[in-house]
């Protein structure tokens, strides 16, 4: 202390003889310059990192908007060399596959989340929790392969490619997402509500079904919509289960069915311009569906959180 104050002028000391806070250290300028440099660097990184995503959205919007019209939404696709037509087969196929996937993944997922939140204290819950988290990281193509092995090979081809195995595969992809997100939402339901319900004499199942779930409803719809958004965009498992079709298929079983991501994939892999253009149109449609679902889901979720704070 004494050595550092010794070199200071008298006006740089305080009344008690300590170093004034206004005196800057010897390397203060260097440190400040470094701080500014890091700030500039991080700003540049931020800008560079956001460029690709802007480019993607602009390019998909520009190329896709030229293609999307009523015909594109309602007509089946002609051979790739021919102009016109559209992705009706893909839209219908995706609607069917994702609806069925949602129908089984969302209820099971939400109930599993209820188990984790309301009953989940022991080892079993820990194991389920852990593997649910791990399951979100399984490659979707593996899920497609496994569903093919179980449903198509496993039944001796009694079921073949079609909406059913595709829906199972997409549902398995959605399941852990629903569980994880629902669990977070159910945790935000205040314990006072549960206690109030029990005090009124309600049983546990009544409390859960009539108090907890309704209170968490907006959050649960957020969770489900995020999962649906993820399921809608999956391509790889559909190659192995839905197989693809350019005609509109309404049947659930044993009839190869188209899907929006599959049609984009097939359109992008062939050399003819009309087919490529349609792939861009499909990409824009898919991007809009997925982003709208995601944004609306997050919006509902944030509203729900705001509501709970008041």
């Amino acid at each position: 202390m004494s050595t550092s104050t010794a070199q200071l002028e008298p006006e740089q000391l305080t009344a008690t003889g300590h170093r004034s806070l206004k005196v800057k250290g010897a390397n203060a300028r260097k440190r400040q310059r470094k701080d500014l440099a890091v700030k500039a660097l991080l700003t540049i990184v931020m800008i560079i990192a956001s460029i690709p995503i802007v480019l993607i959205i602009l390019e998909v919007a520009r190329r896709g908007a030229a293609v999307i019209n009523w015909e594109f939404l309602t007509q089946e696709e002609p051979p790739p060399r021919r102009e016109g037509g559209g992705y009706a087969a893909g839209f219908v196929g995706t609607l069917i596959i994702v609806s069925w996937a949602t129908a089984f993944a969302v209820p099971i997922g939400i109930l599993a989340a209820v188990y984790l939140v309301e009953y989940g204290k022991g080892l079993m819950a820990g194991v389920i929790r852990f593997f649910t988290d791990v399951m979100t990281g399984i490659p979707s193509v593996f899920i497609g392969l496994a569903v093919y092995a179980i449903i198509i090979l496993g039944t001796g081809q009694r079921f073949t490619f079609g909406a059913f195995p595709a829906a199972v595969a997409i549902g398995i992809i959605m399941l852990p997402i629903v569980v994880r997100a629902s669990e977070e939402m159910l945790k935000t339901v205040p314990d006072d509500l549960r206690a109030g319900s029990y005090a009124m004499g309600a049983r546990r199942w009544q409390t859960i079904l009539k108090v907890v779930l309704p209170a968490a409803a907006p959050g649960l719809s957020t969770a489900s919509m995020l999962a649906v958004a993820r399921g809608t965009g999956e391509t790889a498992p559909l190659i192995l289960t839905a197989f693809g079709n350019v005609f509109v298929i309404w049947t659930l079983f044993n009839q190869p069915i188209g899907a929006l991501p599959l049609q984009i994939y097939n359109g992008a892999r062939q050399p003819f311009a009309p087919g490529l253009e349609r792939a861009w149109g499909g990409a824009l449609a898919l991007l809009v569906i997925v982003l709208v679902l995601t944004v609306v889901a997050r919006w509902i979720g944030s509203k729900a959180k705001l509501g709970e704070r008041h």
Binding site: G233, I239, A283, L286
Partner: protein, 333 residues
């Protein structure tokens, strides 16, 4: 009113604990919930068992080590299901690891930068929309990245750049030597990096946000600049979380299928050159599945098992690390 209050004793003492049939409802409901929870494990177990059993013949035919490290993959065409081809998955394992390594190398610095910027530099009004955008971007389907990469980004920007790099430095550094086809490891890895950037960023942000406020304030109180606070408090505290986030991003890159399939080359060879057109485990399954003979299907299932084992190990390690920060709230990736 008060006169109507009864002072009579209740006619019967109904016990609080009901003996009605309703008392089983709770237990039944609990079992139903447990069944739903267990279904997640059951699905996982069924998938693993079935694929392992189905792919067993190819491991038997080639031998486990030869399947992993064999460098020759020639699909057979025997319709009866007998093995006639040669199945060594090493070219695909190599391609998977190579493209993922490229992706993580490119994405990680950017992700940390973006996370730090959003959490500590962006002004308050900008912070929410920025973090929101990052999370929404993680939802863009991979087919869109694949289409954009194949039809616009690679021919317009990336390919001219990589050709220039190869022409300029390829003579000196063999790693960068030509030829540079329009689909190769680096192009796939670059687009993969763009895809996993939001994922690593989102988790890194959540991890960094768990830094104790008191420690940050204490560092400022000692006169640290913002960068010094980040370097000696935030990044130190969050280091293992960032490692976990990176491994999760790596897991995503390893299993990514369609975008890689469109950009990696689709050959059944491998090479250490950066611009070599190769193939990965996931994309090889998706690319050849629809035309595969029965014996090749078994071999593809074998590839699937290998892919599963690799991603599972990576994911379990990552989860164990990230879980130490408590399960992260908003990010369900």
């Amino acid at each position: 009113m008060s006169t109507e209050v009864s002072t009579e004793a209740p006619s019967s003492h109904r016990p609080l604990r009901s003996k009605g049939r309703g008392r089983y409802a709770d237990r039944l409901f609990g079992w139903l919930l447990l069944a739903c929870g267990l279904s997640v494990l059951a699905v996982l177990a069924a998938m693993v068992l079935r694929t392992v059993v189905d792919s067993f013949p190819v491991f038997q035919y080639e031998g486990v080590l030869d399947f992993f490290f064999g460098t020759q993959w020639t699909a057979g065409h025997d319709v009866t299901g007998a093995f006639t081809g040669t199945y060594g998955a090493f070219p695909f394992i190599f391609g998977t690891l190579y493209t993922s390594a490229i992706a993580v190398t490119l994405a990680l610095p950017a992700a940390i930068g973006v996370a730090l910027y959003i959490n500590f530099y962006a002004n308050r009004r900008l912070r929410t929309p920025l973090s929101y955008t990052v999370e929404v971007l993680a939802a863009v389907p991979s087919i869109i990245f694949g289409l954009w990469g194949l039809l616009w980004f690679v021919p317009t920007i990336l390919h001219p750049f990589t050709r220039w790099v190869s022409d300029t430095f390829g003579g000196v550094i063999p790693w960068l030597s030509s030829p540079v086809p329009n689909v190769n490891y680096f192009h796939a890895g670059f687009v993969l990096a763009i895809m996993i950037l939001p994922i690593i960023t989102a988790i890194t942000r959540e991890v960094l946000a768990t830094t104790p406020v008191a420690e940050v304030q204490a560092a400022y109180g000692l006169g640290a600049t913002r960068w010094e606070v980040l370097r000696s408090v935030v990044l130190v505290r969050g280091f293992s979380g960032i490692v976990g986030a990176t491994i999760l991003g790596l897991g995503r890159a390893l299993g990514e299928t369609v975008a890689v399939l469109m950009l990696v080359g689709g050959s059944q060879k491998f090479g250490s050159r950066l611009f070599f057109p190769g193939d990965t485990l996931a994309s090889h399954i998706a690319a050849t599945f629809q035309d595969a003979a029965p014996e090749t299907l078994v071999a593809l299932t074998g590839i699937g098992v290998v892919l599963f084992v690799i991603t599972m190990v990576v994911n379990i390690i990552a989860r164990l690390i990230v879980w130490r920060f408590g399960r992260l709230g908003g990010v369900s990736l």
